[in-house]
């Protein structure tokens, strides 16, 4: 108890101001802000439908979805200094959410997390929420989920699949952010050179951070497998045959 208190107080005293990576309020022109807000609507509708379907099958999944929303909220506003770049950024958390609960519900989770951040923490913005949800929620979740499932199908272990899923979810998010930003601000300039410029500017920070996100995701999936494999079966990440004590 005393040790936990000591580290908690230590962490509090060592804290520095937080920085976010979301596209800030006002960066995107109104037409693009509106476009991305409309683009996420079908995914949100499908996500809510999927969530209701899952909850009808098993009501206990709802608190789990709430827990994952808290995880995405915290992870996506947790600044991590990257010594190789001298800047701060944060992982996305959508990889682990998509792996555990599916990409569509993960979009809903991301939208809720980003809305709270925009309203109360001035991270991102209300007008850019559609763009941020598209990159982090739609692209991040889909890329992470597809990567995880593909590696699993190829016979990869949970740890390896989780690592690749988490890492690609992060890199996919920033690639999408680069494209969204380039489309929004390019004016009369050609798209591709600006897109490459933004991607290259993200690389020193996001390359190591994506690897870190992969490690975090692999760790979380492996921990769940060791401690609560029943939850992974319930969330259809593994089958009953893959349970550790399955005969």
């Amino acid at each position: 108890m005393a040790r936990i208190l000591f580290f908690t107080v230590g962490a509090l005293l060592a804290a520095t101001p937080a920085f976010a990576m979301h596209i800030s309020e006002g960066i995107l022109p109104l037409n693009w802000a509106l476009f991305w807000s409309l683009a996420i609507l079908p995914f949100l509708a499908l996500g809510v439908k999927r969530l209701n379907f899952l909850a009808r099958e098993d009501l206990s999944l709802k608190p789990l979805v709430g827990l994952l929303a808290a995880v995405v909220f915290i992870i996506s506003c947790m600044p991590i200094p990257v010594p190789t770049a001298g800047t701060c950024s944060h992982p996305c958390g959508t990889g682990i959410a998509a792996i555990l609960i599916g990409p569509l519900v993960s979009v809903v989770i991301t939208a809720v997390a980003l809305l709270i951040q925009a309203l109360f923490l001035a991270h991102g913005g209300l007008s850019t929420m559609g763009a941020n949800t598209f990159s982090m929620g739609v692209v991040g979740s889909l890329v992470g989920w597809l990567a995880f499932r593909s590696v699993r199908r190829m016979g990869g272990s949970l740890a390896v699949s989780g690592f690749i899923g988490g890492m690609l979810a992060d890199w996919g998010t920033y690639t999408a952010t680069s494209l969204i930003l380039s489309l929004g601000i390019r004016g009369e300039s050609p798209l591709l050179p600006l897109f490459y410029k933004v991607v290259l500017a993200f690389i020193p920070t996001q390359l190591p951070l994506g690897i870190l996100e992969g490690v975090i995701t692999a760790g979380m999936v492996t921990l769940l497998y060791k401690k609560r494999p029943d939850l992974l079966v319930k969330m259809r990440v593994i089958t009953e045959k893959e349970l550790p004590n399955h005969a």
Binding site: M1, I4, L5, T8, G10, A11, L12, A14, A15, T16, P17, A18, F19, A20, M21, H22, I23, S24, E25, G26, I27, L28, P29, I74, P79, P81, P83, A85, G86, T87, C88, S89, A118, L119, F120, L121, A122, G125, L126, S127, T177, L181, G184, I185, R186, G187, S189, L194, K197, V198, A201, F202, T205, Q206, L223, K227, R228, D230
Partner: protein
């Protein structure tokens, strides 16, 4: 005998972890780097070059980082509780 060995192991672990943490804190606080977020270092910088600048948020929480501090404090209390009861959450079934 076993208890004594465990104590030495714990002491040795603290001797490694504590200086590492201390070094980490000083390295990140004193290193001559800006540590600005990639929103400022990349997104806002490139957007500014193309004539787009970030606006104040539609709902401005104001008061500098006070709100973030409140959030951090609440997170610390919540994290303390979650950390303390972590064993219950991860208990094998």
């Amino acid at each position: 005998m076993l208890e004594g060995k465990k104590k030495w192991k714990t002491l040795l672990m603290h001797m490694i972890i504590l200086p590492t943490l201390l070094f980490g804190v000083y390295f990140f606080s004193l290193a001559p780097k800006s540590w600005e977020g990639v929103d400022e270092a990349v997104v806002e910088k490139i957007a500014k070059e193309h004539g787009r600048e970030a606006r104040d948020p539609l709902i401005d929480p104001g008061s500098g980082d006070l709100l973030l501090f409140g959030f951090l404090l609440a997170g610390t209390v919540g994290g303390f509780a979650a950390g303390y009861y972590w064993r219950e959450l991860t208990k094998k079934r």
